[in-house]
């Protein structure tokens, strides 16, 4: 029986789909069999981010309605062994499936795969309820912004109420120089409010834009810091104890000298 994980956030645009794509790809690169499920019916994006949009024939709603078999709807990503995608429907909406159907689907998929990862839509309504229905574990994604943290807190409350205890946190799009200047929330403040375990901290990275548009998850790009962070997240999911990356930017020689002689301003 594979692990069933839902990636959720509450707030839109914080990086759920990006995280799902990268974690899924990363686990597949480590030799696991993975299926990614896009539950954002009507606003599907996971297929685009994975670069598989022109291979969609059947989708999640077709499977649930019995129009096709599950096998027929799964798209095999040819670049990696054992990475599959179950896309959402684009011409329907979130009332096309219900939580019981999602639970049944989750069990079916968990029989075949090591990891089943559900990409949850933004919000707290039917889409969210569908996405969490079959999940056994949750990853909450947030950005270091007050509004995102507020929504993440709401989501954690709803997850706990549904029996998904101990969700793990990914802080996405962090800019360490802004944090140091005090212009951006720091990690400790966020954990103070959200009070869940930290799974990963992903820096803001231009490579994400590039990777999304090309359909190649950043985890495959060597130079991408975000990709490196996701690689660490994958190792932690697999049980390894990986120290958090030092995201502070490299100081030039002069700055290092200044620090050494204690001449720089300390907070």
């Amino acid at each position: 029986m594979g692990e069933i994980i839902v990636v959720t956030s509450g707030k839109g645009g914080v990086g759920k789909t990006t995280t799902t794509a990268n974690i899924g790809t990363g686990l597949a690169l480590k030799g696991k069999s993975v299926v990614l499920v896009d539950t954002d019916i009507g606003l599907r994006n996971l297929d685009v981010v994975m670069g598989l949009e022109n291979r969609i024939v059947y989708d999640l709603v077709d499977v649930v309605d019995g129009v096709c078999r599950l096998r027929q709807a799964l798209i095999k990503d040819k670049r990696y062994t054992n990475l599959y995608l179950l896309p959402a429907a684009q011409t329907k909406d979130k009332n096309a499936v219900n939580p019981e159907q999602m639970q049944k689907l989750a069990c079916e998929l968990a029989d075949e795969f090591d990891y089943v990862i559900f990409d949850c839509p933004a919000g707290i309504e039917q889409g969210f309820k569908n996405a969490i229905a079959g999940a056994k574990k949750a990853i909450v994604v947030t950005t270091p912004e007050v509004s995102a943290v507020r929504d993440a807190d709401r989501i954690i409350g709803l997850l706990e109420a549904s029996g998904l205890r101990n969700p793990m946190l990914i802080i996405n799009r962090i800019k360490m120089d802004m944090v140091k200047r005090g212009d951006m929330m720091n990690i400790d403040d966020m954990i103070d409010i959200l009070a869940i375990d930290l799974l990963g901290v992903v820096p803001d990275d231009d490579f994400i834009v590039v990777s999304t548009n090309r359909g190649e998850p950043a985890i495959t790009i060597e130079q991408s810091l975000a990709g490196q962070a996701y690689r660490n997240v994958v190792r932690r999911i697999m049980g390894e104890d990986v120290p958090f990356m030092n995201l502070e930017s490299d100081d030039g020689f002069l700055k290092k000298m200044v620090k050494l002689f204690g001449l720089s301003k300390k907070k």
């Binding site: 807190d153 709401r154 409010i193």
Partner: protein, 221 residues
């Protein structure tokens, strides 16, 4: 001491006015005036179940009832000689508890408390007809509404409404007071603008002269 000759107490049944035993009628009347005048609009139309505490004579009861009804627009629902008005019966407020004899009368309160052992998250709402104790934090977006007082054994970042049915004696206490909003009775307040530095000592919010005042309740550490 004269200040607390008259106390408004909200209970499950409604509002009671508790009168200090030794006070004479005139002191009581002037205290009523001091308490009610600043919030006259709020009290108008309110129902007072009865008086408690000081044993009134029939004339005193009638006099007070008339003042309350004519001057302040409230209604006294109970009548003289009601069973639950008897000061001698199991009145927790007027009887000094044996083991705590050295504490001043006003600072001891006995009621029904709801104890919540969890951190309240954004969007969660607790409503209770009594006191509320939270052993955990109250996150921004969380809401507590209590008839009595609210005690938070953690960081208070949300909205708390104590004394929700008009009890200005209710208080809100927290280890770290960083509220979105504080409400006691019908008074609403928020943290002063620019309160950037967080005050790390436990504080209590009480109503003083019609305003909510937040101050530490432990000696300076």
């Amino acid at each position: 001491m004269a200040e607390n000759a008259v106390i408004f107490k909200g209970t499950k049944e409604g509002l009671y006015i508790i009168l200090k035993e030794e006070m004479d009628l005139d002191t009581i009347k002037s205290n009523l005036d001091k308490k009610i005048k600043p919030s006259k609009r709020f009290f108008e139309g309110a129902n007072i179940i009865n008086f408690k505490g000081k044993k009134l004579t029939q004339e005193e009861f009638n006099e007070l009832k008339e003042v309350i009804e004519k001057e302040y627009g409230m209604t006294v629902v109970g009548s003289f000689g009601d069973k639950n008005y008897d000061a001698k019966s199991e009145h927790i407020e007027t009887k000094k508890p044996d083991i705590l004899e050295w504490l001043p009368f006003e600072n001891v309160h006995k009621g029904e408390a709801l104890i919540v052992r969890a951190t309240l998250r954004s969007g969660q709402l607790i409503q209770y007809k009594g006191d509320v104790v939270v052993v955990g934090d109250v996150n921004p977006g969380a809401h507590i509404k209590a008839i009595g007082s609210v005690i938070i054994m953690g960081t208070m970042r949300g909205i708390v409404h104590a004394g929700a049915n008009g009890d200005y004696e209710a208080f809100i206490a927290a280890y770290k007071m960083q509220p979105t909003q504080l409400r006691i009775g019908d008074i609403i307040t928020r943290s002063p603008d620019g309160r950037g530095s967080k005050f790390n000592n436990p504080e209590i919010a009480v109503v003083k002269q019609g305003m909510i005042v937040v101050e530490p309740y432990l000696r300076n550490r």
